[in-house]
């Protein structure tokens, strides 16, 4: 009883703080972005510009996991605007290549989504070489490469195989790259810098190109598709917040390839935060001063930690609430139980991005879909342990319990469950530790938590940021394990052997 009261109180507090942080009285524009550096910078630029120049409030969901998730979030209204590329809209959203005016009218017609004017730069595939070698050979465009079939190509595995990568390039230019090998992206730049390879593929606005001083070759036959950046905004949002138009119009055409590459380099090479980089760009270009100072890292970390703890507690609570009855059911019906175990086991194998994408149409983005996903991932140990614990009740005790006249319900709740309790609690403990780990995926769907630091650290290739999320997560896992262990000893029925 006492335990129940404690759990319910903690849970209520967690739910309350989650819902409180989600509500706001004025028009709030939710600005999303994917996890990559460029997406985060562009998201921040829009967010800070709106904060400085319009009366609207801004909420950031600038760490969403990929086109699939962020576009689903935009469609559902969980996100109001986010930066996207023409090439991605063609390939992943409309599934055909269209000129810009047609993209705009199709998006309007099919999704009621406004496609802003282009920002100016084109982040597509390019080929990169060492500046010295390119100069010596007189190579300035891709056509020039046909004269040097002996060059050593080292390209990313993806580029090696995609039809819009090396195979198509060879056909379009009549090129031959017989020595091409595939190299991981991070290694390719080092290999190129050290002269181990001569040509590699890159993205045209990659900040690392500046760091190494590589030159990029002109795509003189326009082989690579265009990935011109712009913002997608919901029509509804523009209706409710018409001053957004002015902001989008002002930003149009102001970021060229060089500028974007430099901004990316400021994050990837100089290790500045996307929000700082966006702020100095806006200051320099438009004289905009930041309306709201960025949170200090300590504040962000504290908020992420609190959110992570909340996510874990709520997840474990619901995992137990659902998992134990499911385990009981599985233990009592052999056939159906087998099916339950299969389903719960299969849930584990669904990639988190896919599961989260499935959640968006049902639950939007934020805390709710994150918790649903985390609960689905956390069920297995509790269901499995409950089932195992119940099916292992000693035969003679079952015999005695039935034989002296306990009803089937009493046999279960008075005898089987208490005897299985150490098993069940061990399952809860495993589930809790798993929840701390999987709660990092919540960041993919805008629910925050320590995953924000870990994911950003991964995409920005910033080990410090990564550790800032990973170390508290690891410590939290240890603490949670210890707490549940103590709880386990506290509620374990006396008389049972220590586990």
């Amino acid at each position: 009883m006492k335990l129940g009261v404690i759990v319910v109180t903690i849970l209520a507090a967690a739910m309350l703080s989650i819902s409180a942080s989600a509500s706001s009285p004025i028009v709030t524009i939710v600005i999303g972005s994917k996890q990559d550096t460029e997406g985060q910078i562009l998201g921040e630029i829009l967010a800070q510009f709106v904060e400085a120049r319009t009366p609207y409030a801004v909420a950031r969901k600038t760490n969403l996991g990929g086109t699939l998730l962020v576009f689903a979030a935009l469609r559902s209204g969980a996100v109001d605007a986010y930066p996207e590329y023409t090439g991605t809209i063609d390939a992943a959203i409309l599934h055909r290549q269209l000129p810009f005016p047609a993209i705009r009218s199709e998006m309007q017609r099919k999704y009621r989504i406004y496609v802003s004017n282009e920002l100016g730069f084109n982040n597509t595939y390019v080929l990169a070489m060492r500046a010295t070698q390119a100069k010596r050979l007189g190579v300035r465009s891709i056509s020039d490469l046909t004269r040097y079939p002996g060059l050593r190509w080292g390209v990313t595995p993806e580029f090696m195989r995609r039809s819009d990568g090396l195979p198509g390039l060879e056909r379009a230019y009549g090129l031959r790259a017989p020595n091409a090998v595939d190299v991981e992206k991070s290694l390719a730049y080092q290999a190129l810098a050290r002269g181990r390879i001569d040509v590699t593929d890159a993205y045209s606005t990659d900040g690392q190109l500046l760091r190494y001083g590589f030159v990029t070759l002109r795509d003189d036959r326009h082989f690579f598709p265009q990935y011109r950046a712009l913002y997608l905004v919901r029509d509804d949002t523009l209706d409710a917040a018409p001053e957004l138009h002015g902001v989008l119009q002002t930003l149009a055409g102001t970021i060229d390839d060089r500028t974007m590459t430099r901004l990316n380099a400021e994050v990837d090479v100089d290790r500045r935060s996307p929000s700082d980089v966006a702020a100095s760009f806006l200051k320099q270009r438009f004289g905009v001063t930041r309306a709201r100072p960025a949170d200090t890292t300590a504040t962000q970390l504290e908020r992420a930690l609190v959110r992570h703890v909340e996510l874990t507690i709520v997840t474990v609570f619901f995992c137990t609430l659902i998992g134990v009855p499911l385990g009981v059911f599985a233990a009592r019906r052999a056939r159906a139980g087998h099916a339950v175990m299969k389903v719960v086991g299969t849930l584990q194998t669904i990639p988190s991005i896919a599961l989260l994408a499935l959640m968006i149409p049902l639950f939007g983005i934020g805390v709710l879909p994150a918790i649903v996903a985390l609960v689905l991932y956390g069920l297995l140990p509790i269901v499995a342990n409950t089932r195992a614990g119940l099916t292992q009740t000693p035969e003679d005790l079952l015999d005695a319990a039935r034989g002296i006249g306990l009803s089937p319900g009493q046999v279960l709740t008075w005898v089987q469950v208490p005897i299985a309790l150490p098993f069940i609690l061990a399952g809860v403990r495993t589930s809790a530790v798993i929840a701390v780990g999987t709660a990092t995926i919540a960041a993919l769907i805008g629910a925050g938590g320590l995953g924000d630091f870990i994911l950003t650290g991964l995409t920005l290739n910033d080990p410090n940021l990564l550790l800032l999320g990973a170390i508290p997560a690891a410590l939290l896992a240890i603490v949670v394990d210890e707490i549940v262990y103590r709880l386990e000893r506290f509620v374990r029925p006396r008389g049972l052997p220590p586990g």
Partner: protein, 248 residues
């Protein structure tokens, strides 16, 4: 047929797969008697016992208790009127001795105070005072069996079923238990079916003895008649050997 029969087996057959545990068994148990069922392990004697409280339901024939056919009634309600003691004791490890003994009171919705008082009473009956708060893991084998018997006595059932209750207890403690059990039976006069594979125990305790072999009743007799005219090689061999030991 005996009109005083409280428990009646009529042409009862029970199979487990291809194994025939009970083969056309007909038997009456008179109210107030202590009927001992003896036989080798696997002879079907435990199955016979479990037919009475419906833990096993007959494939053919019928078992009735107090005139009601077991398979047709409410099994849970029936079992609450029948004490049941098993070889291991079957004590619930997460409950104290008092909680184990009074669990039927709890199932019947009795108030805690009443349960406590009744538990103390039956524990005193089996010679266990002051062990109420112990857990099963803290008891000796003999103590566990006494608790098991106390639990069966709790609701003062007219019938008790005992499945080799003393088999797992060391020989000295077993003799004590047998003596006390005999006294208890004389005092309470409940109808009891007592399964054992120990001929000595059967001869000592039984009002009547049923000798079981291969799913069939071989002989039903008083201990005296059994001693004089053993109908089975199982009993005869045992008696010869005991006589030889007595002569030595």
């Amino acid at each position: 047929m005996n009109d005083a029969a409280l428990i009646r087996f009529e042409n009862v057959t029970k199979r487990f797969g291809t194994h025939v545990a009970l083969n056309d068994v007909t038997l009456d148990v008179t109210a107030g008697e202590l009927l001992v069922v003896i036989g080798r392990s696997g002879s079907g004697k435990t199955t016979l016992l479990r037919c009475v409280n419906g833990l096993v339901l007959a494939d053919a024939g019928r078992v009735s208790v107090g005139g009601t056919v077991v398979a047709a009634g409410d099994l849970t309600a029936l079992r609450r009127t029948i004490g049941y003691v098993i070889q291991s004791g079957g004590l619930f490890p997460h409950m104290t001795v008092a909680e184990n003994v009074s669990i039927i009171g709890r199932a019947n919705g009795e108030a805690p105070g009443r349960r406590k008082a009744r538990a103390a009473e039956v524990l005193a009956t089996v010679g266990l005072d002051g062990l109420h708060g112990r857990y099963a893991g803290e008891l000796s084998g003999g103590q566990r069996q006494r608790v098991g018997i106390a639990r069966a006595l709790y609701a003062d059932p007219p019938i008790m079923l005992l499945d080799e209750p003393f088999a797992a207890v060391d020989p000295i403690a077993r003799m004590d238990l047998q003596d006390e059990f005999a006294r208890l039976h004389r005092q309470l006069r409940k109808t009891m079916i007592f399964v054992t594979h120990d001929v000595e125990e059967a001869l000592y305790l039984g009002d009547r003895i049923v000798v079981f072999d291969d799913g069939r009743i071989v002989q039903v007799d008083t201990p005296k008649a059994l001693r004089e005219h053993p109908a089975s090689e199982y009993i005869a061999r045992f008696l010869r050997r005991r006589r030889a030991e007595g002569d030595a």
